[in-house]
Symmetry: D3
Subunit: 244 residues, 6 copies
């Protein structure tokens, strides 16, 4: 059921994984990872202003439109599997059944690492909620008494991807990933988000400036790596290593 | 002057590198690193209570005794080079000349990573002072206008090794290093510190419990690595990586 | 439905808006604002000790008494509209219906700014809960897909008013408001809270000392404004300005 | 109903009180306290890996086994009363009825102090949840309008006992308790936890090293108390004293 | 030289100990403590605006006036010994000689507890500087190699007394002391500060409101102690106790 | 000597004011402010890599080149007065004489607001040092006993301008300033920094993305202001206002 190299991205709304982790997804796909994306909602109520401004719009049409965009973006990023939980947004809520469904995915994927949102977001309570759920479901997936007989989860890292207005979220990146080689894929995925065109350049700027941070932290003018685009992540758990 | 694999440990007092980074030193030596240790002081005034309780003790005798202990420990850990700056302790202070001397060492070593104390220590202001100096001298070593013509420093990580009473220091480990293979060397080095025998078991307990943390964070009962001894470190700067 | 100058205060219990924001309410009323107050509960179980010590007291009597006090205080402060959601206290809980009711008020009022409690309160979990709800409902009110066709909310500031024992709540005021001109109204409103007479002088002291802080921060002995009474607030979101 | 010297420990899973507060329990029992322990769950799903690896294991068998272990440990620690709420774990959840049941216990015990978990635990969301519930139920127990006529709660301290991997939990001990005199009882209680033998030495190391912290903070080499074993606690509320 | 019950207050400017610790001083004097106060400066430049507004004022006159006020206040508080280091203010600076002078006092007094300012103060950098010096000199006083043969210091608590605008200083009180019995002495000492009459009522308000906090934290309406005046303190080090 | 509308920017190195506050400077100049810039050093050693890579470079040549660049940028931004303290960099240090020189400038300018760097910067210790000095000199400038007879300083806000890698510096913007109208001037000033061309686009991206943050925080898609470029600032002190 699980493959040796896998990753799991838990996205509160259907576009979050593109802006915030698109480079990591495409890069790891290129490294042989099977990356699964779970969209807990479509962001249909709260992140689809442009659609709602159209005549005759309905919730179902918005959801369908958002789904197509997300599927296209997933394709552009070489996502292995994208799942839509369709749990509603603004607010997003998971009952126990929905949590167990997420646990099932975690156990099936057996990810080497997981990704989700920042711990705190005063603009968007769905984001922090998704992260809390990610931590809770990771814990349940590790429980030997949950669906005994299934393969229990190890201890994958949980990376928090970059929120909007990072400093107000208390998000501090500890890891920069060079995504220069897959930037074209990320930009293509970004452009699938037709309803949020105002963010295309915003996240391109972010990627360029994180590239600067990568260069600085890899040596700067004295040997730094010439990364052009990067993504930043905050780790929830410590690393375990054999060499510093 | 510099070699491809090097590291630099900046120790406020002559025993700190043993308790707090002895495993990392011995392990990286076994991996082919040349590890340099700089002891800014001998800890002669503040960390030599047992010696001072002896009859007829003098500052010079204490320093000589502490130096021998540190040299023996360094040998046990396969330290490449140990330097004693003899700057005095309780309080430790570096004037500009002393800082430039440390910059000279940093540039000569060109470390892949550096190590020093926690950012804060209300029990021991020398410790946080040494870390501030380490950050300042790292910055000076990166300046193209400092001794122009010398090879400037890149951007090595600065790892903060484990202080005493971690929680009161605001120290949070983000990296656990498996030191099981070199534990015998670390214990041997610890036993060189004859004046602080009351700490031998203390730091053995620390290493065992950090081993537990390593096991948990590498997978726990579902695939965790059976590390028996570990050391923890806090990173000051973000990592730059090609794979998460 | 909405007027150009409006504000909305979300109060966990029916007296909170008086102690913590009475001056801001009366002052903005005097500036032409229509201020709406929502009392999520009466504080009938947890903040009515004096009433409960009377013979033959019932929950309904306590609620009725608390309501009268709050209405009188609202009148003294020139509140435009006070609404009692009567959701119960100790603990306070809002289901989705109650949240949507609050969203309806937010949208109807279209406040220039909102007010609620501190982010954290280990003595009174209702307070932090109310603030979380305020942030969540502000978010829902901004969603174009929530009751499409209604006027969506802009981005009003959320001010956290002063809790009891500020330092233990992690509350840090960034804005002091001079309420000297309306102090008499605030004191009158305070005296409407007959069941909590032990707090009258407490919050008078607070207002006087915040007046001192206002004077200091507006210039101190070199040009500070002679405010006699003030209130402090913590902002959740950044300000957007044309001049610093 | 209540006795002059009482304490209440709220344990998310049935073994937590042993590792984290066993010394405090036994010591206060020896001082004449009646200590009540509430185990909100048995930890049957998430903290019983060893049992689940046995053939033919069922949830009921795990719970029964965990209960016996906890009862034996409680006996070893001279616990006055141990109550099992059997609310389930991974995740632990309390509805209003369960909270009121806990409030009933708090009021019946009228504890001088309470104990629970750290405020945050990214590995185990049950732990922080239990602490939130402890604060909420302490608040309800103080409400004069909750079950009017009952003796309301005063303001007992809530001590947060030591979590696993303290630094990642943001847990900072402010109080060290000398448990040397009752160490044998704590070790005996620890050994009742047959399913978690891998933690016996871990928590013995913790107790020894906290003993070192006790010695240091009580005077170190200049008059410190020769405590051999200690436990650390973080206080949620300030102390009120007549002498510093 | 030292007596069994002693305390040491380190005051950056000559009036700080009155506003911030006057109650603790008078109370402990009444309990048999010999309390020593060290005024590092007179606050002659920065905290004597009223004097400087007088005609013909000189630095020496200001210092003399401030000294008389501080001596009078010390008398009112039953201070055992007050020492003026006269090191200058705005900014305050201690060279090594001055630090060793303070170490001499610490060792001579052998205080059960020490007091100084908050860790941080963006309005008054002298305050945080004094606290850093207090921690550094406490460390030196503990060093067996500093003036060998002298009685070294144990591990006295360092209490941080209440700053102005507490929340902006990151100061969080963990201990409230009932000073009702000595309030008259504190008020008398406060009134010795003739040049800062604008602060008399300010700190009276503080004492009254801290009295409210004392009452709440000692039991509130269900058994709280009827303290009328209190002072709050933040502890730098953990406590070591035999009973919680 | 002072004018009604003035501001003061304290820049550790000669280019910092351009990247971090160029928009605020030009905007306030356009509003009639006289803006003074103090460059504590030229950044000659640490921030002039490109110059040092040229043949035959000397410290004096670097300083001269950096000065010309800064003067040109100041002209582009309509700076009223730019002063070069030439105190050296990497590390920057101010003795008492240099601090008093800065105090003289502060008092002469009598700024409505001041600006400097973030509180913390592990990459560049000069930056946090400059901010500490700014707070200290602000305090000295407020002292009635410092050069009695001079006009003492009121209580101007100290804005911390945007550092590189904001999240690692603990910098949190609370104020966004719309600089769209003066963006051309800022870009022109940026292009004066010929030695740091790699940062031109970096800070253009920053300004664009801060423009996005301005739009979001001023109302987003429901009435937000269409700012194209913005700068963010963190306030050290609270605001004092008459309307929220």
């Amino acid at each position: 059921m699980s493959k040796s190299k896998t990753a799991l991205v838990i996205s509160a709304h259907s576009a979050d994984f593109v802006w915030r982790a698109g480079g990591a997804i495409a890069l790891h796909a290129s490294l042989g990872y099977e990356v699964t994306v779970v969209c807990l909602s479509y962001g249909e109520r709260g992140e689809s202003a442009k659609l709602w401004k159209q005549e005759g719009m309905t919730l179902e049409k918005v959801k369908a439109g958002r789904r197509v965009e997300a599927e296209n973006a997933a394709k552009a990023l070489d996502v292995h599997d994208i799942q839509f939980f369709d749990l509603g947004d603004y607010p997003l809520e998971l009952d126990r059944e929905a949590k167990y469904r997420l646990v099932d995915v975690i156990r099936a994927v057996q990810p080497r690492f997981m990704m989700s949102h920042s711990h705190y977001d005063p603009y968007n309570t769905d984001h922090a909620y998704a992260t809390n759920v990610a931590m809770e479901c990771r814990m349940i997936a590790q429980a030997w008494g949950h669906n005994p007989g299934e393969k229990v989860l190890g201890a994958p890292q949980l990376y928090l991807f970059e929120p909007h207005q990072t400093e107000r979220m208390g998000w501090v990146p500890d890891t920069f990933l060079d995504i220069s080689d897959v930037w074209d894929k990320k930009r293509a995925a970004i452009e699938c988000m037709e309803g949020q065109e105002h963010l295309w350049d915003y996240y391109t700027n972010v990627a360029e400036n994180r590239g600067n941070h990568f260069r600085r932290n890899s040596g700067g003018q004295a040997g730094g790596r010439p990364a052009r685009y990067a993504e930043g992540f905050q780790s929830v758990y410590p690393r375990t290593v054999d060499e510093l």
